[in-house]
């Protein structure tokens, strides 16, 4: 089993840019545009850090372009060549490193906020350790362009490392580093998951109220906010409690949210979602509501009552119709002690018995 060790390494340019937009724009900017990438000169220093030099004019132009075209971005993550970003303010940096001894391994990485993440894969190789092997990266099953690298065998190990800018929900997913065709390490990048979500529908009644609860595990960090959505066809419509306070009531505590709906109608049946909002993404939990009328349980109720009535009447009738059999099965036990004694209950009865016997 590969054990995970973590080291930090960062890219200053990307960090600076992202910190500028962190407040609001980044959440809507789900992608980065590689504008002007090829125009900026860059070099790699001794530590492997990427440095960019820009003139002030280019700096200004870059800012403007990035600001205007914030929404129109492509999905490609930046390749190892210097990113076209200016050192505005640094992003936090994080790294995950996995040493693989077998054939494959999956590592779950939980992220809260935008970060520059370095993923490092180390493979000890198998029997035929060649001097070189081709390594590349995949995101969600699709190969990341220009990521093919020839990896050399260093100290009996192959090493692949790459920096990813995880800014928003689009950047989360399943990243894999692959060595040739033999070894694969998966990094599953996601926000904190909501625990304990009921997979079966919650049943409630017309005119009744229902409570939905979403809880984030105590061990996991608390979300900045909670949202509730109702499914409307394929879309999700946010539930704003303020609009209909007599119907919806949302109570939020630190790691827990509660949605209470009053005066249910059959139209309220369907899917509901609670969203735990984090800087990087919103984790969503799903639950289903079914609203039924009182007639639904009334049907089995009446059926069972009918069964009980039939059985009771049948048993009692049976008793009345067949005359009571003499319930005297036990024979030999007491006959021998046929003495003229009184019983506790009816002295007169036994005296008549005695007369009969004698």
């Amino acid at each position: 089993m590969a054990s995970a060790t973590y080291r930090l390494q960062g890219d200053i340019m990307a960090a600076s840019f992202l910190q500028l937009w962190e407040g609001g724009l980044v959440r809507r900017c789900s992608r980065q545009r590689g504008e002007g990438r090829n125009e900026t000169p860059a070099y790699r220093d001794e530590d492997g850090r990427i440095r960019i030099m820009l003139t002030s004019w280019k700096l200004f132009r870059l800012h403007v372009l990035l600001f205007i075209f914030c929404r129109h971005v492509n999905t490609e993550t930046p390749d190892p060549t210097p990113p076209p970003l200016v050192p505005i303010s640094p992003l936090p940096i994080d790294a995950r490193s996995v040493v693989l001894k077998g054939e494959s391994h999956t590592e779950v990485v939980e992220l809260l906020s935008p970060v520059n993440l370095t993923l490092e894969c180390t493979w000890t190789g198998n029997q035929n350790k060649g001097p070189n092997i081709t390594g590349f990266w995949r995101k969600d099953g699709h190969e990341i362009g220009n990521s093919h690298v020839t990896v050399e065998l260093e100290a009996e190990q192959y090493n692949l490392r790459r920096v990813f800018h995880i800014i928003s929900e689009e950047n989360l997913g399943n990243y894999s580093c692959i060595f040739g065709r033999e070894a694969k390490i998966d990094f599953v990048l996601s926000g904190p998951q909501i625990g304990e979500v009921r997979d079966k529908p919650i049943v409630s009644y017309v005119g009744d109220s229902v409570v939905f609860i979403c809880k984030m595990d105590k061990t996991k960090p608390k979300p900045t906010a909670w949202d509730w959505y109702k499914a409307n066809g394929t879309d999700r419509e946010q539930i704003v409690a303020a609009e209909e306070p007599h119907r919806y009531e949302i109570k939020n505590k630190e790691g827990k949210t509660q949605l209470r709906m009053h005066n249910l109608t059959e139209a309220d049946s369907g899917l509901y979602f609670c969203g735990a909002v984090y800087p990087i993404s919103t984790t969503v939990g799903q639950m289903e509501l079914q609203v039924i009328t009182l007639y639904e349980p009334l049907k089995p109720f009446i059926a069972i009552m009918a069964e009980v009535t039939i059985l009771v009447v049948a048993i009692l009738l049976c008793e009345k119709c067949h005359p009571r059999k003499k319930e005297t099965a036990g024979d030999g036990i007491n006959d021998q002690t046929n003495m003229q004694t009184q019983t506790e209950n009816n002295g007169s009865e036994t005296s008549s018995m005695r007369q009969r016997k004698v």
Binding site: K200, P201, I202, V203, S204, Y205, D208, S209, V210, V211, I213, I292, L294, E296, P297, L298, P300, F301, I302, I304, M305, V308, L311, V312, I315, L316, E319, R324, K325, K326, E327, T328, A329, G330, I333, N334, D335, T337, N338, M339, Q340, T341, Q342, T343, E344, N345, N346, E349, T350, M353, K357
Partner: protein, 455 residues
């Protein structure tokens, strides 16, 4: 043979025939009484969310139901003494059903405490006592077997109700489920209709009752006064009853806690949730088969005369089981423990009321069981919370198991010693009463001869 008290019935129990239908009726009633409060726990999570209360407040519903069931014991006994088993069971069935139906419309948790807890609990009490009593009226020779079969109702119904409740919850929510459970509980009325009062044909002579002992019994009856008319409080002077009572009160303090904490203990030592739940299923399954088997064994001619020793053995066995539980390592160890615990628990439960019937006799059993249940109410309810407190204090389940083991094993040994003493005394009394009878017969015969000679 059995002590003479058991045979002062005034008629011969059928020991078969319609008696087996009565056993079926008792099976259903006893099953609902014991299994229903436990099976309600499946709804607690939903109810807790709905009423926005804490889990312990929700768990009170079961506790109130169990407490009412035990506390209403004497009331049930009085009614059975007065009206017989059948009407009481039918009224009980209607009560518990009505309680559940009312609860399904509840708007506060207090509503549930009253409807499910109090009304439901009383209804179940009106099912339990009569079901136990009527077995004593129908069976004498095969009574241990009949008791064992009837008591098997508890694990069988628990096994059935648990998945049924889950299914109902998923299909209808807690309100609809309570409504349907109300209908299901009406089957107690079906059980009641089977409990035909036994035919007390005065055709057979009763067992040897010396005039001396009869006079003593009549005096005892008169002494109790007003209360005695309803419930036989002279039982508190009955040696066997007192032994039973004292031993049981201590035993019940540590009896149910191991069942309650089996799954949490398993999870505590690292077993996953499903395997932990499976341990309880193993326990229930073993319990289900051991109860009738114990009845069969108790019926054999070598055990029956000294059935009190069998009961003492069963109690001691269970206690030793708990003491050895902390030695169980890993899942397989706990499985072995669950099997042995199931055997012990089943044996004790099957014999629990049989030995009481054996001690006080079938005609006083109704009052005896009423008094016993109300006194046992305390330890039964206090046991699990005290054990829980022990677990919280030491952070470890082993001390709880040691405590429960001691609380069960010591009464077991107590039963052995006291029953030995009791049997000796009973044998002495038997010999004395036989001697008195023989003397009185001789006198009567002599008197008759004299009378004949004089005429």
């Amino acid at each position: 043979m059995a002590p003479p008290t058991a045979t002062k019935l005034g008629y011969t129990p059928p020991d078969g025939g319609w008696g087996w239908a009565v056993v079926l009726g008792s099976f259903i009633s006893i099953g609902f009484s014991y299994a229903f409060p436990k099976s309600l726990t499946i709804y607690f999570k939903e109810i807790q969310k709905y009423f926005s209360v804490s889990y312990s407040q929700t768990a009170w519903v079961s506790s109130v139901m169990l407490a009412s069931m035990y506390a209403a014991g004497p009331v049930s006994s009085i009614l059975v003494n007065r009206y017989g088993s059948r009407p009481v069971v039918m009224v009980g069935g209607v009560m518990v059903s009505a309680g559940m139906v009312l609860a399904s419309f509840g708007s506060t948790i207090m509503h549930l405490y009253l409807c499910v807890g109090v009304i439901g609990g009383f209804g179940l009490a009106f099912n339990l006592q009569p079901a136990l009593t009527i077995i004593g009226t129908y069976f004498h020779v095969k009574r241990p077997l009949a008791n064992g079969l009837a008591m098997a109702g508890s694990p069988v119904l628990l096994f059935t109700l648990a998945p049924l409740n889950q299914l109902l919850l998923d299909s209808f929510g807690w309100r609809g489920s309570f409504l349907i459970l109300g209908a299901i509980l009406l089957n107690c009325c079906v059980a009641g209709s089977l409990m035909r009062p036994v035919n007390k044909h005065p055709q057979r002579e009763p067992q040897s009752d010396s005039p001396a002992s009869n006079r003593a019994a009549a005096e005892e009856g008169a002494r109790g006064g007003c209360l005695q008319k309803f419930i036989d409080v002279s039982l508190f002077k009955h040696r066997g009853f007192l032994i039973y009572l004292v031993g049981n009160v201590v035993m019940f303090l540590g009896f149910f806690a191991p069942v309650v904490f089996l799954a949490p203990y398993a999870r505590d030592i690292g077993i996953d949730e499903y395997s932990a739940a499976f341990l309880l299923s193993i326990f229930a399954l073993v319990d289900m088969f051991v109860r009738p088997a114990t009845g069969l064994i108790g019926n054999t001619s070598c055990i029956r005369p000294r059935i009190q020793y069998f009961f003492s053995f069963a109690v001691t066995f269970t206690g030793v089981c708990h003491l050895l539980c902390p030695l169980a390592s890993g899942y397989s160890g706990l499985v072995i423990y669950a099997v042995f615990f199931g055997i012990g628990f089943g044996m004790v439960c099957a014999l629990l009321f049989e030995v009481l019937m054996d001690l006080v006799g079938a005609h006083r059993f109704s009052s005896a069981v009423g008094l016993v249940t109300i006194i046992e109410c305390g330890p039964v309810l206090l046991g699990p919370p005290i054990s829980g407190a022990l677990v919280d204090k030491f952070g470890d389940y082993t001390y709880m198991y040691y405590a429960c083991g001691v609380l069960v094993a010591v009464p077991g040994i107590f039963f052995f010693i006291m029953n030995y003493y009791n049997y000796k005394k009973l044998d002495e009394e038997q010999r004395r009463s036989v001697a008195v009878e023989m003397r009185s017969d001789e006198e009567a015969a002599q008197h008759k001869i004299d009378h004949d000679e004089s005429t």
